[in-house]
């Protein structure tokens, strides 16, 4: 396989499930290298788990296998899914097919790049703070962050159990819907997996869309604002109050840091030098968060969810905003030599994604434009819990009336 983007970590000699019947029969997929298959290696983008052989198969892979989807291999990712850019000092940075000097976004970096380059029709990613949506936006593909508990996480690497979700990246909302239809639903092996009935994700429905245009005009870079507001117009969006993105993001960081650092405590004590510097510093910060601060963030979560649904969504189905308020940054700007502006830039990249994980609601990212440098711009649609069907209907409606999702990289 010709992969100049370093998207693949492993390519199967023969795709798995060839000739198998099912609703996804013949659909070529590959997945972030953190979904386990019994007897196969899952490196999780790390040095620590390099060569680790999984003892179980992820529920999502079992369901895709049963649906006849081809599996071509495993895909690059940020180390332990703990980074928003796609840099990886152990396995090499993933490169954006639109321009290799720019980030793919992370942590599902290989998933975004492989779909953008049309090496696969779709890929699974995980999303704890934006890890499906940021690569989807930066690579110009469609990506779905599912409701917390909608898709089983059994057999997938954990980062932050209160926030972790699994979802597809594909070339269209239609294909995301086809994949979600297969992987969604109760699984007793994931203790937080919901018994909420699985919807019909391919059905059409009218959706009412709202947006906070003044916020977008004030806080998004002009090219991003113009593309997103054009999409809002196409979808007939009316005005809504903007959520308190920064407070919700801060709570997300508190929860994510606390849980990720607890998850990694043994390795952080025994072999801290085997983490990259960037991941190690993120993990170190988590040990300084008081338990009371962590628990207070979780105690506030329900109240913030109800406020979002009542005050922002109101009677609407979907809240529209940019996936990122900034244009896609370069790898250099956001890498180890990024300089003094790097923390601010990383904050911008995740500013509009983390709040969604804190609320636990679903969100769909779709391409809605190309900036003056030729890099994609992403639109984000957010809905109430378990309203993936409404999100995907709005996404399909947008993609019927626009062609951004059909554009492919020229590099």
């Amino acid at each position: 396989m010709n992969d100049p983007f370093n998207a693949f970590i492993h390519v199967e000699k023969e795709p798995l499930n060839r000739g198998k019947p099912g609703p996804l029969s013949g659909m070529p997929l590959a997945h972030k290298d953190m979904f386990f298959r019994a007897g196969k290696v899952s490196n999780c983008g790390s040095k620590i788990r390099k060569g680790w052989v999984a003892p179980v198969t992820a529920t999502v892979l079992e369901r895709l296998d049963a649906a006849g989807a081809l599996q071509l291999g495993t895909l690059n990712m940020s180390e332990f899914a703990y980074g928003p850019t796609g840099h990886n000092e152990h396995w090499g940075d993933c490169r954006n097919p639109w321009n290799p000097d720019y980030i793919t976004g992370g942590s599902s970096s290989g998933s975004g790049a492989a779909v953008a380059a049309r090496l696969v029709a779709g890929a699974l990613g995980s999303d704890t703070g934006g890890s499906v949506r940021i690569p989807a936006a930066a690579c110009g593909v469609t990506g779905l962050k599912t409701t917390w508990g909608r898709v089983s996480r059994h057999g997938a690497m954990a980062l932050s159990h209160s926030l972790d979700t699994i979802g597809p990246l594909a070339t269209s909302a239609e294909d995301c819907a086809r994949i979600l239809q297969v992987i969604a639903g109760f699984d007793a092996r994931d203790s937080i997996c919901s018994r909420e009935p699985v919807g019909d994700y391919l059905s059409d429905r009218k959706t009412k869309v709202v947006a906070s245009t003044a916020w977008i005009e004030r806080h998004a870079e002009p090219e991003v604002a113009a593309a997103v507001l054009a999409a809002a117009k196409l979808l007939g969006a009316t005005e809504a109050e903007a959520p308190d993105f920064d407070t919700l993001s801060a709570h997300c960081i508190t929860v994510m840091s606390s849980e990720a650092s607890a998850q990694h405590a043994r390795w952080m004590r025994e072999r801290p030098g085997d983490y990259s510097s960037a991941v190690r510093v993120r993990l170190e910060a988590g040990y300084a968060i008081p338990a009371t601060t962590y628990l207070e963030a979780l105690r506030l979560r329900g109240a913030w969810l109800e406020r979002f649904c009542a005050q922002t969504l109101g009677s609407a189905d979907v809240y529209l905003l940019p996936a990122m308020p900034c244009r896609v940054p370069t790898r250099e700007q956001t890498g180890p030599k990024g300089g003094a502006d790097m923390p601010r830039l990383l904050g911008e990249v995740t500013r509009l994604t983390r709040w969604v994980n804190y609320l636990g609601v679903p969100a769909l990212v779709l391409p809605c434009g190309v900036d003056s440098r030729g890099l994609p711009i992403g639109l984000q649609l957010v809905a109430r819990p378990f309203a993936e069907a409404a999100l995907l209907a709005a996404g399909r409606a947008y993609q019927r009336d626009s062609d951004w999702h059909r554009r492919t990289p020229t590099t």
Binding site: A250, I253, V281, E284, I289, P290, R299, L300, G302, A303
Partner: protein, 62 residues
């Protein structure tokens, strides 16, 4: 709000058996201080609200 300093960061991580990379404590203290937020909902949070209340809110918001 918390006001972290280098000594506090070093002590709390050391007590958990975590060795800090050189020069890291100052970075972490700055990041934690910058991340502290004044959440308006803290003032109205019921005593009975606990982390599992979120699951009930999800049901109500579907």
């Amino acid at each position: 709000m918390n006001s972290w300093n280098i000594e506090a960061i070093e002590a709390i991580l050391s007590s958990q058996g975590i060795r800090l990379a050189p020069g890291r404590a100052a970075k972490i203290a700055a990041a934690l201080n910058a991340g502290a937020v004044a959440d308006p909902l803290r003032a109205v949070l019921e005593l009975e609200a606990d982390p599992t209340s979120y699951l009930l809110a999800m049901e109500r918001c579907k």
